[in-house]
C-alpha cells in the first residue's frame, strides 16, 4: 500500500514537470487592429501587405516581439500585440473547465472553493482576522525577494512606463 502511494506520487510529479507548455503547431488568430505586414521582423523593414482589423490569419512563427502571419492575401511579420491568438487557450480551457466543474464531466474535485465570487458575496463578506494573520505571516522581505530573483537569473532593467494611447 505504501509502495503504491509512492508510485502515484512519482507519477504525479512526472506529469507535473512535463506538463505541456508548447503551443499547437499551427495557430490561428485575428488582427486586433489595422497594421502593416513587413518582409522582416523590424519596424523599418519593407512592407509586404496590409493587415485589416478583425481579419482572420494563421500564425506561422514567433520571433521576439514579432509574429510571422499569413492572411488570405499576403504573408509577413507583424507586432505581437496587433494579433489576437485563437488557440493559446488549449491548455487554459482544459484547466478552467475542470477547475470550475463546468466541463459537464462532473469532475468537481474541490468543494472548498468558492464558485463565482459575485459582487453580492463580496459585499456580504465578513473580515477574517485568522486569514489576515496568515497572509501577514507569509510576506517576504525585499532582501529575500532579491535573492529569489538572483537565483532565477533575473536582473533588474531600467525602463520608462508606456504612455497612454493617443
Amino acid at each position: 500500500m505504501k509502495r503504491h502511494t509512492w508510485l502515484y506520487l512519482i507519477v504525479a510529479i512526472g506529469f507535473g514537470l512535463s506538463s505541456p507548455i508548447s503551443l499547437a503547431a499551427t495557430e490561428s488568430g485575428t488582427a486586433l487592429k489595422a497594421d502593416t505586414l513587413r518582409v522582416q521582423p523590424f519596424a523599418d523593414a519593407k512592407s509586404s501587405g496590409a493587415l485589416i482589423k478583425n481579419e482572420p490569419l494563421e500564425i506561422i512563427t514567433k520571433k521576439g516581439a514579432w509574429l510571422q502571419v499569413k492572411t488570405k492575401k499576403s504573408t509577413g511579420w507583424v507586432r505581437l500585440l496587433s494579433v489576437k491568438r485563437a488557440s493559446t487557450g488549449n491548455v487554459l480551457k482544459g484547466t478552467v473547465a475542470v477547475a470550475t466543474g463546468r466541463a459537464g464531466t462532473g469532475k468537481v474535485v474541490s468543494t472548498t472553493g468558492i464558485r463565482g465570487l459575485s459582487a453580492e458575496e463580496l459585499k456580504a463578506a465578513q473580515f477574517n482576522e485568522t486569514e489576515m494573520k496568515k497572509l501577514e505571516s507569509l510576506a517576504v522581505s525585499k532582501a529575500d525577494a532579491q535573492k529569489f530573483a538572483s537565483s532565477g537569473g533575473l536582473t533588474a532593467n531600467q525602463a520608462a512606463y508606456l504612455k497612454g494611447a493617443k
Binding site: 506538463s19 486586433l32 519596424a43 521576439g64 516581439a65 507586432r79 505581437l80 500585440l81 489576437k84 493559446t88 487557450g89 491548455v91 487554459l92 480551457k93 484547466t95 478552467v96 477547475a99 470550475t100 466543474g101 463546468r102 474541490s110 472548498t112 472553493g113 468558492i114 464558485r115 463565482g116 465570487l117 459575485s118 459582487a119 458575496e121 463580496l122 459585499k123 456580504a124 463578506a125 465578513q126 473580515f127 477574517n128 482576522e129 486569514e131 496568515k134 497572509l135 507569509l138 510576506a139 517576504v140 525585499k142 525577494a145 529569489f148 530573483a149 532565477g152 533575473l154 533588474a156 532593467n157 531600467q158 525602463a159 520608462a160 512606463y161 508606456l162 497612454g164 494611447a165 493617443k166
Partner: protein, 301 residues
C-alpha cells in the same frame, strides 16, 4: 464596518449601485477642489513615495479611530487596505499551501521592488476561488484567485498580473476613489446631513465599493496594464507575460461564471490588448529579451 470596506478596494467595481450617489454630484466640484488642495493628488502619475520608508519608523501604526481622508498617511493607507483585504479573505480564504503562497510573495515582492513604492509592506496571496480575477487594495495588498493562477504557463505571466495589481496600488487608484467618496460625505455633513463628524470615516469606507464602481474606470485599468507590463520587464521578465494572460482570458466565453465579475468590471481583454498595442507602438522592439522561467512556476494542481 469590515463588511463593506472590502468591496471598495477591490480592483473590481460594482456596477449595480453606480448611480446611488448621484445626489453627491452637486458637491462634486467642491470636493474635487478639496482633494486637490489637500492631497495634491489630482491625476498625476505616481509620485515617488520616499515617505514609505520613514513613515514605517515614524508613525506607530495604531488603531485608527479616524482616518484623515484629505491626506491619509502611509499607515492609514495600509490600515484601509487591511480592512478591505480582510473582508475579501472572509469571502474566499487563502489556499492552504504555504509553498505556493511564499512563491507568489517572492515574485510579487521582487516586481514591487521595481516600482516607485518599493518599501510598502507588500503582501500577496492566492485565494480559494475558481474565478479568474485579481484584487488590489491600498497599502500594498494583492490577491489573485486560484483559478487565474492555474492558467499561468510561466513565471513571467504571474509577474505580469501581479504587476498590474501593484500598479493600482502605486497609482493609488482605489484610494483616490475612496478619498473622493469620503470628502463627498464630509460635504454632506457640512450641509447638515444626518452624519455627525465622528461617523464620517466609517461612512466613507463603507460606501467605497459603489464609488469604486463608478470611478475605477477603463483608463485606470489600461494604465495598470501599461505599468504592470513594464514592472515585470524591469524585474527581468519577458515583457509579454501580461499580454499572454490577456490573450488567454480572451478565449473564455463571456458568459462563463468564472469571468463574470472580471468582465463586468474590466474592459474586455481584446480591448486591453489593443490598447496595449497602441501604447507600445515600436517602443518594445528594442527591449532586451526577458526571462519566462516556465520551469520555476510553482505548479498547483
Amino acid at each position: 464596518m469590515h463588511k463593506s470596506i472590502f468591496a471598495a478596494l477591490v480592483t473590481t467595481a460594482f456596477i449595480a449601485n453606480v448611480y446611488a450617489f448621484d445626489l453627491g454630484k452637486a458637491l462634486e466640484g467642491a470636493v474635487k477642489e478639496k482633494i486637490q488642495e489637500t492631497t495634491g493628488t489630482k491625476t498625476e502619475p505616481a509620485n515617488t513615495d520616499n515617505a514609505d520608508n520613514q513613515n514605517a519608523v515614524a508613525d506607530t501604526p495604531t488603531a485608527q479611530p479616524q482616518i484623515n481622508w484629505k491626506s491619509p498617511s502611509r499607515d492609514e493607507e495600509v490600515a484601509i487596505g487591511r480592512e478591505v483585504t480582510g473582508s475579501l479573505l472572509g469571502a474566499a480564504p487563502l489556499v492552504k499551501n504555504d509553498d505556493l503562497q511564499q512563491y507568489v510573495n517572492k515574485v510579487g515582492r521582487w516586481v514591487a521592488s521595481q516600482s516607485e513604492r518599493p518599501d510598502l509592506p507588500w503582501k500577496f496571496g492566492v485565494i480559494e476561488s475558481n474565478d479568474l480575477n485579481a484584487f488590489a487594495a491600498p497599502g500594498g495588498y494583492v490577491l489573485i484567485t486560484k483559478g487565474l493562477y492555474q492558467t499561468f504557463q510561466n513565471e513571467a505571466q504571474l509577474a505580469g498580473v501581479l504587476g498590474h495589481e501593484i500598479a493600482h496600488v502605486v497609482q493609488k487608484h482605489h484610494l483616490k476613489v475612496m478619498q473622493k467618496q469620503a470628502l463627498l460625505d464630509m460635504g454632506a455633513g457640512l450641509l447638515g446631513d444626518k452624519f455627525g463628524d465622528n461617523k464620517l470615516s466609517k461612512k466613507a469606507i463603507s460606501t467605497g465599493a459603489e464609488i469604486s464602481a463608478r470611478n475605477l474606470d477603463k483608463s485606470a485599468e489600461y494604465e495598470a496594464d501599461r505599468i504592470g507590463m513594464m514592472l515585470a520587464y524591469r524585474a527581468g521578465y519577458d515583457v509579454y507575460g501580461l499580454p499572454e494572460v490577456l490573450q488567454n482570458m480572451a478565449q473564455i466565453n463571456k458568459s462563463d461564471d468564472s469571468v463574470a465579475l472580471l468582465f463586468k468590471t474590466h474592459p474586455h481583454p481584446d480591448e486591453r490588448l489593443a490598447q496595449l498595442g497602441e501604447s507600445a507602438g515600436s517602443q518594445l522592439d528594442k527591449l532586451k529579451a526577458g526571462k519566462t522561467l516556465e520551469n520555476r512556476l510553482y505548479l498547483l494542481r
